[in-house]
Every structure is written in structure tokens, then in C-alpha cells.
Symmetry: C2
Subunit: 338 residues, 2 copies
Amino acid sequence: MEGRLSERRRRLFSGASFSTALFFSGAIGGESESFRYFSGCSVDGCCLVLRKNGGVVLAYEMNYKAARAASHYSVRLLGPDATKALRKACGRGKVGFSSAEMSAARYLALKKRAKLKLVDAYEKIGAVRGRKSREEAAAIAAAAKITRRILEGLDPWKHRTEAGLCAHLKIRALEESCALSYEPIVATGANSRFPHHTPGNAKLADIVLVDFGVKKDGYCSDFTRCYFRKKGTKEEKAYLACKEIFGELAARLPECRNGRDVALLSEKLLAKHKLPAPIHSIGHGVGLEVHDYPHLGRKSTDSLEGAVLALEPAAYFKSFGVRFEGMVANTKGGWKLI
Amino acid sequence: MEGRLSERRRRLFSGASFSTALFFSGAIGGESESFRYFSGCSVDGCCLVLRKNGGVVLAYEMNYKAARAASHYSVRLLGPDATKALRKACGRGKVGFSSAEMSAARYLALKKRAKLKLVDAYEKIGAVRGRKSREEAAAIAAAAKITRRILEGLDPWKHRTEAGLCAHLKIRALEESCALSYEPIVATGANSRFPHHTPGNAKLADIVLVDFGVKKDGYCSDFTRCYFRKKGTKEEKAYLACKEIFGELAARLPECRNGRDVALLSEKLLAKHKLPAPIHSIGHGVGLEVHDYPHLGRKSTDSLEGAVLALEPAAYFKSFGVRFEGMVANTKGGWKLI
């Protein structure tokens, strides 16, 4: 673990404009994945102060013992004047943080009360976390394998409603000792035209869209499958076109260097198959978070080196929507489906 | 619904220093509970611009149709220049927002790019949401009833490990058509001394602490029970003392006006029972979020009017910890256990 953590520190501080970085772990239920990534442990309500050569975890009394038991870095107890202790631990230099993983309340307090010189290192932190190690890619592949097995064994119409099928998927994840990457989406009939539909009491109709991923050892997976009661319908044809686009896109990823290239290529492929212009991104990086670095979009210069992606070509019409989503990993040997 | 929403608007803007308020709903899986509270609906990736006399929901194309189907306010499509549209919708006056429910990234973008005059209305929003309507108190009581039933029917030692018992609790919530208020805590043996222990593969020992709550129709519950294989141990005695303190505290809540009063009273009661000084708060408000307004602590002037509270007297020792947590609601007739 020590080697892995020092490698992550090295990449974070290489060429950085800050000499210290600051990560917080969330309150109960919440998690800051960068805290986990850079500390190597997962404890509530703590702060990690990181430098090139090491780090220290600051913990309130409530979490102090748990932090001592779990942390690879030394742990310091936060007394009543936490602001002062934090300022002391950070020193006078510039302090990197992730604006996406910090509340505005915390940001304002650190700036005004602790008077830290904060530098938004969101992009840099994303780029470090985005390039997956072999162990991380393997953890994601393990989560992906379990998700595919659950989705391939699924007979939606054994369940009555969207909510019923959704509960079944959650139980399947628990049976596999997994958490959820996100709340599963189950959308039937016309509900399938809403990309992020919330499963309700709608009775399962002839088309069922399932967007589902499990989390194994902290790492996410993300897949979408559509199920059809009748073969050869226009709904099924649109779905098969999305599946074909997924395959073409995955095969041509070696042509792409960054998020923009993937977005442009996917637009071309959707047009070639005469599908409507997309209303959401073609996909996203996947890691400790289900929406992870790199971002895939027309403006994204995010690198694809070492990336794990979910690709999700989709088509939304007036009365229904379809989407096929699968995952690919960029390893030293090129791209492979996972 | 319209009456309920206009009442919420009235309370939000009464005496406020801002003329507009801004709420965002989270990305997939995330939720901003204030968006839900003030819009009356739950749709991904939208923005609610609220004024005293009404409001408008702004939605990207991806969520536009879903927002139209769910929202009580009119819905406007966000085109490519979302910043400009947002600035136009907010006008030139001061704009209230909740710093606890907004990422620093969004805060910085709204301030720098949209040039909004942001006012942190976190306290005000909390106070509005904290005073529960009869319907809200009933929803919380319904969630509480289900949780108590699950915990009272529990025989922990039918399960082998912390993680196994935790999975069982999650399945029980699903069987009751409920979500989780938070990730359940199951801690056995010495793990019980960590207030927010993460359930692992530890085999269930003679003491098992379970902190668990279900969410029904968006509203949370929060309970803790300890289970003992042997009666009359020092562990069980400490637990029964916590249970007694809970009862005394609940009975004496009419003496308290605010969060500070509850904190001071609980300190007195813990000392009377010769339990160690607490390492976490005596409790918290409960609502759409499990940690909701009011805050209970020495510095809190938060009002208890219409509040629903979780109270959790606890005692942590070197080799174990115990906690008893139950819920109370402040109705017009006084305080009652739920």
C-alpha cells in the first residue's frame, strides 16, 4: 500500500502549482472518493493533509480510534479549535483541493476562517485518478463481470412493476456481496424515453430498459440493457442499432486521443445509423465514482491513457427510448471490452 | 400541492435578504433535498429558480421531458448557453442558496461565470424545512414505525457476520418498499467502540450494535439498538443506562427551546448516570435528510418548533461502545415518541 500511495502522491504533485493537498471524507453514508484514493482507507469525517513526501490524517475524537486503526498515515486528534489545527497542518503555501468533492459551505469556511490559499485542483486530481493501475482495472473488471452476469440472467417479466424489478436487482447485488454504483434505473414503455427515469409502480410493458451497476471493493461498473417481449419491433431495431454503434465505437477507440475525439466519433456513428442526435453524453470514465474522469464531450481534452469507460449509445423518440451501455478499459495492450 | 408550495415560499422569503432562491437537483443517484422540498418533485439535473410569487424549473434536454411530466412549476429548456439563461432567470437582485447543498465547483461557476450575487441562505432554508407540517411528521412517523418493527423482530445471531446482518437489513427495507436513510451500521464486539463503524466480515460476538433507518416517501428515520447474547453484563448495563437517559431526555424536552438546551440537558443526564463525556452530538433533526435541521449542540440556537429529532445517548469505552437511539416529534400538543 505504501508504494501505491507514494506513486499517487508523486503523480499529484508533479508539476503542480500547490505544495499541499486537502481531502475530506464525508459524513455518514457520504464518501469522498479522493480521500479514499489518496489515504488508502475509508473513515468518516476525517481530513487528509497531503504533501509530496507524506501525509497526515486529522480526526475528531468521534472517529479518531477508527482512523488510527485504518490509516496508513499518522493520525492527529482534532481538538476544539479545528480551524487552527488545519491551518497549521497546511502551512502557508498553496493548497490544492477538488471543488467537485467539497461543499460550498466547507470551501467558504476554509477560505474565510482558516484563511487557506486554496487552488482548485479538480482537473489534476481527476487526471491522476483517471489513469488506472492494473489492480484498479482488475477491480472494475470484477464489478463489470458480476453486473453482466446479473443482467444476462434477468427475466424482467418475472416481476410485475418497475419498482419490483428494481428491488430484485438490489437484492442480487447484495447476494453478490456488492454495493450499488448508483440507484438502478428501470423504465418500461413510454418511461424509457426519460434517460434517468425513477422506477415506480408502472406495470412492466413490452419494453424494459435496465441501467444497473454494482460496486465491488469500492470500484464501480455501469451497464444498460433493453429487454423486449416481442422480436422484430421498431423498438428492438433501434436498440440493435445502438448495440452495433457500441461495437463500432469500441473497435475504433484506438483512433481517439481524448474525450473530444470519442464524442465526435460517436456523433458520426449515430448519424450513419440514422439515429437522432444524442441528448446526453456518449459515456464517461468509471472508477471509484460511476461518473469519473475522463469526461467525454466536444470540449473535453481529457486523456484516455489508462482510462476505463462506459459507452452508452442511445436513441430517444416520442413514445420510447433505447440505450445499450457497456464498458471498455485502456490497457497497455490497447482497448479491451470488460 | 400548490398550497403547500406557496406556504413554503412564503416562509422562505419572509424577512429574507434575497429576492430569488436557487436550488439544483443532483446528478444520477444524488439528490438535493431542498430542490425536492421547494419544487414538489424529484427530477435529475434541474435547477429551480424561486421567487415569492412563483418559480420556474430550468432543465437540459436530457431531463426536459421528465421535468415537464413531474413539475408543478413551468419548465424552461436550457440551451447551450446555460449560464446566460440562469443569469436571466435570476435577475439582478440577491440570490439565496444553500452552501451545504452546493459543490464548491458550482458555487465558483455561478459567482465567476454567471456573476450572481449569491447569499448563503443555509440557515434560513434549514429553519423552513425544520418546522415540519402535519403531513411531513406523519411520513417520518411511518418510516419510524417500519424501522422499529424491523429492529424489534431482529435476531442478530441468525446471521454470521456484520456484513451478513447488514445485507439482511437492506433486504428487509426493500421488502417494505423503502429506501435507506443511510448505510446501516452493524458493529460487533470491540468494533462497537467506533460510532460510525463500516460493517465487515467480523463474526457476530456477544454484543451487536445496529444503527438503521428506512426512508419512506422521501422521509427518513434513524434508530440504534444494541443486542446482547448474555444478560446482566457491564455492556448491557451501560446500554440500559443510555436507554434510561433517552427516556428522561424525551420527557424533559418541554424545558428546552433550542439545540443548545437539549445538548446541555443531555450532558447533565449523562453525568448523573456516571457515563463518560460524549464524543458525538446527542442527536439531530430528521427529515428529508437523516441529518436535518435543527442542529443539537452547545452553540446551536436552532429552534425546536415543529422539529422531529433523533436522540442518541451513547457511551464509548476501551473495549466496547453502546448507543440507544429513538425519535421524537414536536407537535402542537407537545413532544411525542414516534
